[in-house]
């Protein structure tokens, strides 16, 4: 995603990798004509750590903790995707209670992630009061997660074949109490998002994406659902306990920034509803099944709905104690294309909001190195080219 050659009279505004509006490193270049953006490019890779290669050096159990640390915001869902793939390879299924607990953690994580995003996106729009309020209320979810697992960010709830932590009725009551408070607050935020005039001025009609564009650009998650593209892995291909405790898909028609706010807030409320339903009919069973130490050889895919969209794992096992290949495709990477396209034609001042609108997570993205060299067309690399380059480089 680099810029075409632009004329000499254009002005390029670079943003990042360290920038007050960015909490994570990423580099953007916006070509502007006056105040209007005429071209945009993104350069990623500042958070590339080599996790996929590192996964090949670690055992299946160790990898659980590595996968969790791909992203600190959606850590549980990464581990869930990995664990589901491994369970599929091993031919075991987690007990019903374990699957329900996985769903509980996933939905709590979605609440915390969406509230975090609501704050950050409002902050980018200069609405710091909403940022402070939503982060204050987010601490309620963090307390619940801490009560369940003992950690605020990396819960490590998953094991291969089950989960580590159980829920007591006492805990459920406490969580219910917190959810009641959160639902009240979310209704208030929905009111602010829908009725605050300055907020509507910054969001309505900005960064509008049609359904066709969303499909063409490969948007996923709430970004796509805000453009009336009804696709949610939880509904379309239920995993964990989503078949027993289904969620309703939240879809909006408009496709602009405002719709993305509404979709995410409504999704958070839906999460609260589904959590209550699980607590009412919590299945009884043990928490872990026996899993062989060596995972049988084979290949599998696993997909889940992370807070930002569809998360996809490809796992290959050679029959040993370590995976042979783990490939991760994260939702943020799919959504970058929409930013680059939507930016064109808008004011430079709208860029932070449009960027934040997809809920970008850089640490999720950066597992891909783009090799560049003085070539005619540096972006297109065939496999043979890449292989030759590697051989020449290390000669």
């Amino acid at each position: 995603m680099t810029l075409e050659k632009h004329g000499e009279n254009r002005f390029v505004v670079p943003i990042g990798p360290q920038h007050p509006a960015l909490k994570e490193p990423g580099h953007f270049e916006f070509v502007v004509d006056g105040e209007i953006v005429t071209g945009a490019s993104v350069r990623l890779g500042y958070v590339h750590r080599g996790i996929e290669k590192g996964a090949e050096d670690r055992t299946w159990t160790q990898n659980l903790y590595l996968m969790e640390r791909i992203c600190g915001i959606c850590s549980h869902i990464h581990a869930t995707a990995f664990v589901q793939g491994v369970e599929k390879l091993a031919g075991v299924e987690a007990p019903p209670r374990a699957r329900a607990i996985r769903e509980i953690f996933a939905e709590l994580e979605r609440i915390h992630s969406h509230m975090l995003w609501l704050g950050v996106a409002a902050h980018e729009g200069g609405f710091d009061a909403l940022f402070m309020y939503s982060w204050r209320d987010r601490e309620v979810v963090m307390d619940m997660l801490e009560m369940l697992s003992g950690n605020r960010v990396h819960y490590s709830a998953n094991l291969i074949g089950g989960v580590k932590y159980d829920l007591t009725p006492d805990m459920m009551d406490k969580i219910r109490e917190g959810l009641n408070y959160l639902e009240e607050r979310l209704a208030h935020y929905l009111d602010v998002v829908n009725n605050d005039e300055t907020f509507i001025g910054r969001t309505r009609g900005i960064g509008t994406m049609t359904r066709e564009q969303a499909q063409l650009l490969g948007a996923v998650g709430p970004t796509a659902r805000a453009s009336n593209f009804a696709y949610d892995v939880r509904v379309d291909a239920p995993y964990a306990a989503y078949a027993e405790f289904p969620v309703e898909m939240v879809v909006a028609q408009e496709g602009d920034l405002h719709a993305r706010f509404v979709v995410r807030i409504l999704e958070t409320m839906e999460s609260i509803r589904v959590l209550r339903r699980i607590f009412e009919n919590m299945p009884e069973s043990e928490l872990v099944t026996r899993v062989p130490r060596r995972i049988p050889a084979g290949e599998t895919i696993s997909r889940v709905e992370a807070p930002r969209g569809e998360l996809f794992y490809f796992i290959a096992s050679g029959g040993g104690e370590k995976p042979e290949r783990v490939k991760v495709r994260t939702p943020s990477l799919c959504n970058w294309g929409t930013v680059i396209t939507l930016a064109v034609g808008h004011k430079l001042a709208d860029m932070p909001m449009i960027l934040a609108g997809i809920d970008p997570c850089f640490s999720c993205n950066d597992r891909l190195v783009m090799v560049k060299r003085n070539r005619q067309d540096p972006q297109v690399w065939t496999w043979a080219d890449l292989r030759n380059y590697g051989i020449e480089y290390y000669r």
Binding site: G45, Y46, G50, I51, K53, R136, V153, D366
Partner: protein, 177 residues
């Protein structure tokens, strides 16, 4: 504070500087390849429950205005040059707080091919805050330890020299006659 001649006047000035610095350190935050976990906890320290602004600690956007660099992550090779450049842009005296296990030693990413394994391989670090991620209270304690050291003047000598990577030369101010 590095002054060679210590006249009474300069001693008074030093005291005022230290007083100001301890009471209102401005911090800059840079993510050098961490998983975001530490970064959202650093952000959480600014929000109402923990609210470090009541101690005068302020997160500042520009490195040129900052006293303290709060850095997370195992330093990926691509972010390394940027980290050095940010460090160079900060005015003296500057302090570095490394947050999170991977900032200390590479942590869970130990052995991955694209990281430097720790911020102290690149920059002189004053305070290490362990944890994956550390709690907001831990981060606040880390800052408090640094401020305490500043107040008592017991800051350890910097033994590490930091060189600016090639291609990142700082613009020199022109002296007009």
């Amino acid at each position: 504070m590095g002054l060679e001649v210590s006249t009474p006047w300069q001693q008074v000035l030093d005291k005022i500087r230290t007083w100001a610095r301890v009471n209102s350190p401005w911090a800059i935050h840079f993510n050098s390849g961490s998983c975001n976990g530490c970064d959202i906890e650093i952000l959480a320290t600014l929000t109402p429950r923990y609210d470090v602004e009541r101690f005068g600690i302020k997160l500042q956007g520009s490195p040129r205005h900052a006293d303290v660099l709060i850095c997370t992550g195992p330093v990926s090779l691509q972010a390394k040059d940027r980290l050095l450049r940010i460090y160079w842009q900060m005015p003296e005296p500057k302090f570095v707080i490394a947050v999170g296990s991977c900032g200390l030693s590479g942590g869970v990413f130990h052995g991955c091919y694209n990281i430097v394994h720790g911020i102290d391989e690149v920059l002189p670090v004053d305070v290490f805050v362990p944890g994956c991620p550390p709690r907001p209270e831990g981060i606040i304690y880390g800052v408090a330890v640094l401020l305490e050291a500043l107040k008592s003047g017991k800051r350890p000598e910097r033994t590490m020299t930091v060189e600016l990577p090639a291609g990142f030369e700082m613009p020199q101010a022109e002296v007009r006659q």
